[in-house]
Symmetry: C2
Subunit: 177 residues, 2 copies
């Protein structure tokens, strides 16, 4: 039988389709080994996806979005999509947006990058600050001779059916406790 999710040394068993409540340590018991740059095997051109949150002084908060990126990339790989997923922070923590975009384009050969503002409401961060930082990063990369198509999606929390589904799952989980 497989080890219980979240048990020591078994974090590679992290399964995005399991409820986070199934993990002893929560969803952040997920993938290890996120400190170094992740591998970008193969030589084909890719779509890059960059999840961008604010950045926190709490390492656990910063790790969360990197875990989400890793799990999301893993879920895409099953579909054999030529997509590579990374996370970056607006400020406070590394990697910032410029560093992550440069890595996606040069190291991971992304020719198109979709930046996803990982914020719940379409507030100032997702509608003004992140677009400005992306624009500045794009200009800086252009100065380095590095170019790719970089677009920005709506804020995560504007995907209303998915948010309602999340509330549903969490309410049901709390009611059966």
């Amino acid at each position: 039988a497989p080890a219980a999710p979240g048990s020591a040394g078994e974090s590679s068993d992290f399964d995005p389709l399991l409820s986070p409540t199934a993990y002893a340590d929560g969803p952040d018991a997920g993938p290890d080994g996120l400190d170094g740059p992740a591998a970008c095997p193969g030589t084909e051109e890719r779509v890059g996806i960059l999840l961008i949150d604010h950045g926190s002084r709490r390492p656990a908060s910063n790790e969360h979005i990197h875990n989400v990126a890793t799990v999301y990339e893993g879920s895409l790989r099953r579909d054999a999509s030529a997509k590579v997923v990374r996370a970056a922070h607006m400020e406070i923590a590394e990697p910032g947006i410029l560093v992550a975009l440069r890595d996606l384009i040069t190291h991971c050969r992304a020719t198109r990058v979709v930046c996803v503002p990982y914020f719940l409401s379409p507030g100032r961060h997702s509608t003004e600050d992140v677009p400005r930082l992306i624009s500045e990063a794009r200009d800086a990369l252009k100065g380095e001779g590095i170019e790719a198509e970089v677009v920005i999606s709506n804020a995560l929390g504007t995907a209303m059916p998915q948010m309602l589904g999340a509330i549903d799952v969490l309410v049901d989980g709390a009611l059966v406790k």
Copy 2:
């Protein structure tokens, strides 16, 4: 033909199953009339659901979660669920947690309330601050002779399959633009 969603005076057409990108003004073009206390028709006992975010100095950010609550309640009503949904803020903006819980229990006759921390990561707000504020509110209500079962769910962003689904939808939407 129905008016385009998001057009002036037609916000009651807000449809949670439509992509937020279908609305000219985004999902916050949603339901009007959220300023006063919403109606709680009927006399049956209910499950209350309280969405709790941080609270912002920006009215648009505060309105967002109330719109989500209204849309979510509307989606439940179609299932004839005896559930009533409200939103509250940790601080800065009204209603706070105490006011919202009191309203759910006394005005809306909720005998059980599930509080959903509307935060993306299981950080300090959702794991420490919100539970503490709920506990304080429960004690205050007990002092007023108002009691109900109040439980707290995991943070919104820990519903991993739904968050991955949201990323998928947003990335696809950005790539076809």
